[in-house]
């Protein structure tokens, strides 16, 4: 029965992965969109409203600008332009913002603040769903109605240079393009030079209507060294010069053509304090949006403060500016200052077009649209507009016209604002059906093994329950690391209590009590009996050997055992101050920031070198000679790699001028990782063939484990190497002084591994926020973006903590217990304890799907959980494979 349980659990987890996938498919809704997607060309533009007299303006108005240049700088935060950095590094832009013919805005990007959804938002004016983050890595062509497609249909000639995503989104839209790949994150000069080198030629030629430039360098600098790096300043000056060049060239051309041009400077998303993006903090969401054109002339002394607008407003503005129909899914409203200089009749015409488009979208998405305040306002405005047109055609006095015009305009602007708001708020319908099926499939797993819960410790169960319950509150999800640190600390104290009782009272004759001292009285007799039975069953060879536990340790070992929980607690405390994560306290200074700042490179180098030596010392003791050598060389390679890409220094190296991509070094390490993994697998296979030699299998498993450690050492950022060291140290201490002498059963050891794995996930600096995923790990040793290895490496680097602890669990259990049931039992427990929170979380998310924070807090966590369950499934399959070899031998 026991033997089957491991396999059963593995199957259940695999089914659960399918369930979660199905659930995710249902959960992430299709965004608000218009139903008439195919025949949008056929629709004629709405004519000007009029009462009585008929208007002659039934066509689309002509374009306002002859040429449009969009200069998009990736990760341009608002304070890079409007703040002190802008004044210092972008003098020309600051001049334009303060005194020039321009309108500046702070455009708010909606989460997910990732490039592709942001480009979509800018060009379609709609709000892309959260699932676009997942699709970000292979962007399919954009089918929705957007400005670019409209411009192409209108025969505009467009040129694009910059991020390749555009070329993928809009294939065959550009008459000329040069896409640069955005995936090699550590390069920040070449990506921009590739864009700028075309500029002179293109600006001189002038045979185009729209020029789009997407600069990636700033974003890459952010990912590498954060927003306070000195590199940012250089990059901003470079961008300022480019802007000046474009602007002067546009101005000189205007003098010949006499029709105004438009230059748009914008960012797609901001940059958090750690230099990443993806979430919804103020720094990530606020981007500058500056419209520069000689049409926006202003008198001296006219101070325009940057207004807060939505990023989606740009699409409507661009469409009007280019004389195109507004994209039909756009939820944005026209940026009114850009048309302020036009005659009143034109202004009203533009506003009317925008309002008609928005109200149509509202009609298609809200059944009770007639009751919406925005729609009522729009109808009102339309009526007034009709009156105004009649008066205008009858040529009334200018004053009456002007007053009524102002009134109509105000009415329209109100209507636009309300319409745009109610559309943005519109929560698209969830696909309840597939969510239900997914939930049922997920629930099928934990519902079955109810009878086995008595095997688990009451404490651990209560801790797990507490954690699961805490998932219902958004703050607890944001600060989930606190929960895990707290639980791990409590676990250590409980272990401490157990060790001390064993040492001082020596109550070996009575069965081990509940390890949690504070809840000792909760324990029940049946649980105790049950565990002692399981105990005997699991480790028969040990029970007969000696009844005493800690007494087997002598002298200093006993003292070490007593000190070990405190050592572990201290390690955890140090790791906690290494990376501040979460939301509320993420901005606080931590050791990691201190180490990564460029002033402390020497300290970081020493720390990295020490950590690598420690890793070698801790891992090598159980490896075979070949893998020992491979490990040493590999760790040396890791240091060389970090030195090559400029993170750490060699003692003989004074400055870090020659920064390379470190391809050779990284591949060198990859070879050793594969070598060690291969040796381990070979040993495992050998143990299966020979069947007698038990130690070969142990060594094989340990070698696989050490191969993973080496890979993690390569992928972790250098300041995170201590995390790896402490993880190994804690594992060694726990093995030697806690698990072996106290003879915990497999279930307890599994849960402890799981808890520590989760805590280390957060010690690494992860959080339940997409922004903390370290994408650069996916490009270690890769020249260009290759999807499969990049995704694999990123996933491994992110989930290194849980994966390493789980593989340690396999290697520990198979070396400690010769009886086969321990592994399958552990597999069962691992599957259970991982899938329980996931299933509970899915139910919670379903019930909270109209929560305010569903997109910013709950959805990213859901994606993390989905990924976690996938990795758990892989681990469980590995467990089962080990278990099978065990039973065969």
């Amino acid at each position: 029965m026991r033997l089957g349980s491991g396999t059963f659990a593995a199957c259940c987890v695999v089914i659960e992965v399918l369930g979660v996938a199905l659930f995710l498919r249902g959960f992430f809704p299709a965004p608000v969109r218009s139903s008439s997607r195919t025949e949008h060309q056929a629709e004629p533009p709405a004519p000007e409203p009029s009462t009585g007299a008929s208007s002659n303006w039934t066509k689309l108005p002509p374009p306002l600008f002859s040429k449009v240049v969009i200069m998009l700088i990736d990760a341009l935060r608002d304070d890079f332009v409007f703040g002190s950095k802008g004044v210092k590094f972008m003098p020309y832009t600051t001049y334009l913002v303060e005194k020039g013919a321009s309108h500046s805005f702070v455009a708010e990007a909606k989460p997910p603040t990732v490039t592709m959804p942001r480009i979509k938002a800018l060009m379609t004016g709609s709000l892309p769903g959260f699932i676009d983050v997942v699709r970000n890595l292979n962007s399919p062509a954009l089918l929705e109605d957007n400005v670019i497609t409209q411009a192409k249909a209108a025969g505009k000639r467009m040129i694009f240079y910059g991020d390749e995503t555009w070329v993928k989104l809009f294939p065959q839209h550009f008459v000329e393009y040069d896409g640069t790949t955005s995936f090699f994150v550590s390069d920040y000069t070449e990506v921009d030079d590739n864009v700028t080198r075309h500029l002179d030629k293109v600006l001189k030629r002038g045979d185009w209507d729209v020029l789009i430039l997407h600069y990636l360098g700033l974003d890459h600098i952010g990912h590498i060294s954060g927003p306070s790096s000195p590199l940012i300043g250089h990059k901003l000056s470079e961008m300022d010069n480019i802007l000046m060049k474009i602007h002067t060239s546009l101005l000189s051309e205007e003098r010949e053509n006499l029709s105004p041009n438009l230059l748009v400077l914008c960012g797609d998303h901001g940059m958090s304090e750690t230099g990443s993006h993806g979430a919804s903090s103020m720094e990530e969401v606020n981007t500058p949006l500056i419209l520069i054109s000689s049409a926006f002339e202003r008198k001296p002394g006219d101070i325009r403060h940057p207004k807060h607008v939505q990023q989606t407003d740009l699409a409507a503005t661009l469409a009007i500016g280019l004389g195109l129909p507004i994209p039909e899914n756009s939820v944005g409203s026209l940026l009114f200052p850009s048309i302020e200089g036009r005659p009143v009749r034109e202004q009203l015409r533009f506003l009317h077009l925008n309002a008609v488009q928005l109200s149509k979208l509202l009609q298609e998405n809200v059944p009770s649209y007639k009751k919406e305040p925005g729609f009522e306002q729009f109808k009102m405005a339309e009526r007034l507009h009709g009156n105004w047109i009649r008066l205008y055609l009858e040529e009334s006095t200018s004053e009456v016209l002007f007053n009524l015009g102002t009134k109509v305009r105000r009415q329209y602007l109100d209507a636009l604002r309300t319409l745009s708001l109610s559309l943005s708020r519109q929560v698209a319908q969830y696909d309840i059906y597939s969510m239900l099926v997914g939930t049922v499939m997920v629930l099928e797993n934990p519902a079955h093994p109810n009878s086995r819960w008595s095997e688990l410790d009451v404490v651990i169960l209560l801790g797990t329950m507490g954690h699961v319950l805490s998932l219902g509150a958004s703050s607890f999800i944001e600060e989930e690391h606190q929960t895990w640190y707290f639980l791990v600390n409590t676990l250590c104290l409980a272990l401490c209590h157990e060790i001390y009782r064993n040492c001082f009272l020596g109550d070996d004759c009575e069965p081990r009590r509940c390890s949690h001292g504070e809840r000792g009285f909760v324990n029940t007799a049946p649980a105790l009996q049950d565990r002692s039975i399981g105990h005997d069953e699991l480790e028969p060879h040990r029970a007969s050997k000696s009844p005493t536990s800690l007494n087997t340790l002598r002298g200093w070992e006993k003292w070490m055992a007593m000190a070990s929980p405190w050592v572990i607690l201290t390690c955890c405390r140090l790791l906690r101050s290494l990376n501040q994560t979460g939301v509320q306290w993420a901005h606080r200074p931590d050791l990691g920031h201190w180490l990564t700042s460029s002033d402390h490179k020497a300290e970081l180098s020493v720390l990295a070198a020490l950590s690598l030596i420690m890793i070698f010392a801790l891992v090598q003791r159980r490896c075979s000679l070949t893998s020992k050598v491979a490990m040493a060389l590999g760790l040396l390679g890791v240091y060389c790699y970090r030195a090559a890409i400029g993170n750490v220094l060699f003692p003989w190296q004074r400055d870090s001028k020659d920064i390379s991509k470190g391809l050779i070094e990284a591949r060198f390490v990859h070879v050793f990782v594969l070598g060690i993994l291969f040796t381990g697998t070979k040993d495992l296979l050998k143990s299966q063939v020979i069947a007698a030699d038990f130690t070969i299998k142990t060594v094989g498993l340990w070698e696989i484990y050490s191969g993973l450690v080496l890979l993690a050492a390569l992928l972790f950022r250098p300041h995170n190497l201590p995390v790896l060291v402490f993880s190994l140290l804690i594992q060694t201490i726990m093995t030697k002084f806690i698990w072996k002498p106290l003879r915990h059963d497999a279930a307890e050891i599994t849960v402890m591994h799981y808890w520590f794995g989760q805590a280390f996930f957060y010690f690494q600096g992860n959080s339940n926020n997409i922004a903390t995923v370290d994408i650069s790990a996916g490009f270690v040793g890769l020249d260009t973006y290759v999807e499969v290895p990049a995704v694999f490496l990123t996933a491994f680097a992110t989930f290194a903590g849980p994966v390493l602890w789980a593989s340690h669990l396999v290697s520990f259990l198979s070396s400690e217990t010769s009886s086969g049931s321990a592994l399958s039992h552990a597999c069962f427990c691992y599957a259970l304890i991982c899938s329980f929170p996931v299933s509970a979380y899915i139910i919670l998310v379903t019930s909270l799907r109209y929560h305010l924070f569903i997109w910013s807090v709950f959805s990213p966590k859901l994606l993390y959980e989905g990924m976690h369950i996938l990795i758990t499934a892989a681990i469980c399959v590995f467990f089962t494979a080990m278990d099978q070899t065990n039973t065969k031998s």
Binding site: E478, Q482, Y485, L569
Partner: protein, 225 residues
């Protein structure tokens, strides 16, 4: 005998609760701007002083384990000094544990220490009063089946409940509800990320007392039956 003990126990716990309540109201007559939430540090000091005093007085009056043996003054003095040292040690021990749990090492050191003091007041002081500075007896009481009298039983329950209360008191810290009653620890929250909140121990101890009373009354009824 047992009935009188239970009655006494009930009164001592009631007095303890009463002293905690008094510590909230009395200082406002003497100190300006006193309130639990705003000047919580002062209140913590006052509360721990009150509770210690009540415990000592009760110990002297009730004498649950009255030893008939008369002892010399020097013996009493050393015993008292030992108790003080034990109390201080427990304060530092708790402080270390709070730091290990994530309280900041340097900033807010006073808050952390006062929290350690109040936790010691609710756990160590009753132990010292009842059992004296005798580690063996402590270990006996807090191990399984080691309880000999109803006094020790009550001690065990109150101490363990205080620990659990402290432990549970950390849970609201990550919440960001910004409600008025959260002022007490949103103040803490703004400045630190540590895992404690001060008001909670107090409540926990009250709960402990209440639990205790409930259990004792049920004991009493079962005895009378």
């Amino acid at each position: 005998m047992k009935d009188t003990d239970i009655k006494r126990l009930l009164y001592t716990h009631l007095l303890c609760i009463f002293s905690i309540i008094l510590s909230i109201f009395i200082p406002s007559f003497f100190l300006e701007n006193f309130s639990i939430l705003e000047t919580h540090l002062t209140w913590l000091c006052i509360c721990s002083v009150f509770v210690t005093a009540v415990n000592l007085v009760l110990y002297l009056v009730v004498k649950p384990n009255a030893s008939s043996k008369r002892s010399s003054l020097s013996y009493k003095v050393t015993r008292f000094l030992k108790c003080c040292i034990y109390f201080l040690m427990s304060c530092f021990f708790f402080h270390v544990i709070f730091v290990l749990y994530g309280a900041p090492l340097i900033e807010l050191v006073l808050e952390t220490f006062l929290f350690a003091v109040i936790l010691s007041t609710f756990t160590t002081v009753p132990c010292l009063c009842l059992l004296g500075p005798n580690i063996k007896a402590w270990l006996r009481v807090f191990s399984r089946n080691g309880v000999t009298s109803i006094w020790e039983n009550s001690l065990q329950i109150t101490t363990i409940s205080s620990f659990i209360g402290t432990w549970l008191g950390a849970f609201p810290i990550p919440l960001d509800w910004e409600r008025p009653w959260q002022v007490g620890f949103s103040y803490l929250k703004q400045q630190n990320k540590c895992l404690y909140s001060d008001g909670k121990t107090e409540e926990a101890s009250q709960y402990a007392c209440i639990n205790d009373v409930v259990q004792l009354s049920s004991d009493a009824t079962s005895l009378s039956l």
